[in-house]
């Protein structure tokens, strides 16, 4: 009988040990004062006066502008949409870099709904999460550079604003790609950098390139093993 009791105690001890493994709590640290930063870390929580709710993440002081900021002289009103459509022009030159960056950014932010080709058949449209996404080439849609930029700034109807995820340059790069997609859909000549036009190889930069690089890298890794 004593034997059974001993086995039971060992069993309990094992259970107690195993129950220390808890994925809901972080592991304990050795000398945590070397882990915790002295300064305030991004998204940290600190008991400091002025940190509302202990939250390090705060909005910038009103009127703060980021470096390289250019004021955007259009508001989110129907009149200004019309004004942006006619007056706002793309300040960026069409270069290979800009077009490639635009294609990559487009595939990150826009393609889920608008589709790789701008035909409104992104994965969310195909899965019927979003309905009625128009093609850039849809009849009666007046799409201009300025309009595309304005939509990214403020959003339009169901589409939200992308101003917080992109900066000014990136928005213009996306605009270049969108205009090229529209031209491609309508079968019109693309806007291309001078060099490419001279070489007579009018091709749309494929945003897939950027996403393909890591897998190529990984492939190399596997080979080198």
């Amino acid at each position: 009988m004593r034997k059974i009791g001993n086995i039971f105690i060992v069993f309990l001890a094992l259970i107690a040990l195993a129950s220390c493994q808890n994925d809901l709590e972080p592991n304990y640290q050795f000398m945590p004062n070397m882990y915790a930063p002295v300064g305030y870390e991004t998204y940290g929580e600190y008991d400091v006066e002025g940190f509302e709710g202990g939250q390090e993440a705060k909005l910038p002081v009103e009127g703060t502008v980021p470096r390289g900021f250019q004021p955007f002289d259009y508001t989110n009103s129907p009149e200004d949409i019309a004004r942006a459509k006619s007056d706002l022009k793309n300040p960026l030159e069409y270069t290979e870099d800009n077009l490639a960056a635009g294609a990559q950014l487009y595939n990150i932010y826009c393609a889920v709904c608008h589709g790789d080709k701008g035909d409104g058949l992104g994965i969310l449209a195909k899965r019927e999460k979003f309905l009625g996404i128009p093609s850039y080439a849809a009849a009666g849609r007046e799409i201009t550079e300025g309009g595309v930029y304005h939509v990214q700034m403020y959003g339009l109807n169901t589409m939200g604003s992308y101003a917080s995820q992109t900066n000014e340059k990136e928005r213009w790069q996306i605009t270049q790609h969108v205009m090229n997609l529209k031209a491609a859909l309508e079968g019109k000549p693309l806007m291309l950098p001078k060099k490419i036009i001279d070489n007579q190889t009018p091709q749309l930069p494929v945003g897939g390139d950027a996403t393909a690089t890591p897998t190529e890298l990984e492939q190399d890794n596997i080979d080198s093993h």
Binding site: N27, N157, M159, L217
Partner: protein, 426 residues
């Protein structure tokens, strides 16, 4: 002659009747419209801003045909702005009531198209027979779970009963044997096994060494996992399924974690990023909802409501109330302060896929730490990874000289100085 005439008149009348019937039926058809064709038109033209039973960017459209007369609707849909400018009182009222959102003009739609769309919007809301079997499934599924437990419990009970019965049987048998005068042979007392073991010095030494080695092994393992949070999967304030967003819907990682491209931190998306899509997606589809309830025990719609609550989004008016609440996400990946890590350097410069470090996030229902994030793990990768130098003028000279020095075609991150202490510790 007369007869023939009469016959002729009869056939003419019947022809007239037929024509009248046809025109009548077609006119009815035009007024009623074809709901099936209307649905296709509605989904491709209207559904971006309008839902049937819920206010979206524009108002809910079920039974809109009963509220306004048809000619007014024709001109509104074809060019609403012109109607507003003409000073139409009803048009201005609608415009004002919907936050002055300008409705796209649809000059390409014919009156017949609009009739079809209106026929579709005039259909009665289908009674929800689908949710009933859905919840029924849920009940039966959970019911089968309960019955499994019941079966297991019954089995355990039966086994216990058997054990008790065995004891009872042996004790009665013994009693009977004692009663009948059967005697048991008394066992000779032997030397206990442990005493023999203690007296054998060699065996004792070997087992002591073995014991110490095992203890050392487990102690080493125990110390090495201190401060390593691999597998850490805390409960977040809002249940966010990476499986649905990044997996099923293939939203790019950088869409939400947009600062990973250009900042040290990958960035927890602010709620406006969530709202870019969830302004429109207020509830998940029925199959997704059922899947969440059955497999993960989560009501996704309630989680979206938590988002609305935090972002201060009023579903009934489709506008922000301005009363926001911070969402206190629980941080999972956390490097100690003495190690420097920069996301943009790995994501943008090196072009490393997010999954390389974070694992198959697109399959995770609950986000967890995939990699140990230890120094050994970092260094392993730096030793194995070739630097992506193509198209990066910054690397041209250094790559040329270093590849000559090491005599290799492709440099690894380690050969570029990726193992130097000062690169990460300073």
């Amino acid at each position: 002659m007369q007869k023939v005439n009469f016959k002729n008149i009869f056939s003419r009348v019947s022809l007239l009747l037929l024509v009248a019937m046809l025109t009548f039926s077609t006119s009815v058809f035009a007024q009623e419209g074809d709901a099936a064709a209307g649905k296709t038109l509605f989904n491709s033209n209207c559904a971006a801003c309008h839902k049937l039973d819920k206010k979206a960017t524009g108002p809910a459209l079920r039974h809109v045909a009963d509220k306004y007369d048809r000619d007014w609707l024709y001109s509104w849909i074809k060019d609403s702005q012109a109607l507003i400018k003409s000073g139409d009182a009803k048009a201005i009222e609608v415009f004002e009531a919907n936050n002055k959102a300008v409705m796209t003009s649809f000059p390409a739609l014919s009156n017949a198209d609009i009739d079809n769309i209106l026929a579709y919007t005039s259909e009665e809301k289908p009674l929800p027979p689908a949710p009933a079997p859905g919840t029924g499934d849920g009940v039966s599924a959970s019911g089968s779970g309960v019955s499994n437990n019941v079966i297991l419990g019954a089995l355990v009970f039966v086994f216990l009963l058997l054990i008790v019965m065995l004891f009872l049987v042996t004790s009665t048998l013994k009693k009977i044997a004692a009663h009948n005068g059967v005697e048991y042979a008394v066992e000779e007392s032997r030397k206990p096994l442990w005493k023999a073991f203690v007296e054998n010095q060699f065996l004792l030494l070997v087992s002591a060494v073995l014991l110490l080695l095992t203890a050392a092994y487990f102690m080493y393992g125990f110390f090495m996992q201190v401060g390593v949070d691999q597998g850490y999967a805390p409960v977040q304030p809002i249940h966010f399924s990476h499986r649905i967003h990044a997996g099923d819907n293939q939203v790019d990682c950088n869409y939400c974690h947009s600062s990973a491209r250009k900042s040290k931190t990958s960035g927890i998306p602010s709620l406006n990023v969530c709202m870019n899509c969830h302004k429109n997606i207020g509830e998940v589809s029925e199959d997704v909802l059922a899947e969440g309830l059955d497999e993960h025990g989560v009501d996704y719609n309630k989680e979206i409501m938590k988002l609305y609550d935090a972002a201060g989004w009023d579903v009934s008016t489709m506008s922000y109330t301005g009363e926001t609440k911070p969402v206190k996400w629980v941080r999972i990946h956390n490097l100690p302060d003495f190690a420097y890590f920069n996301h943009s350097q790995h994501v943008t410069v090196a072009g490393v896929a997010c999954q390389k470090c974070h694992g198959p996030v697109e399959e995770m229902e609950i986000m967890e730490q995939f990699s140990p994030l230890t120094m050994g793990w970092c260094i392993d990768c730096h030793r194995e990874t070739n630097v992506n130098v193509s198209g990066n003028a910054y690397y041209e000279k250094i790559h040329e000289e270093l590849s000559k020095k090491y005599g290799v075609e492709q440099l690894t991150a380690a050969q570029m100085g990726g193992l130097e202490c000062g690169k990460c510790h300073y």
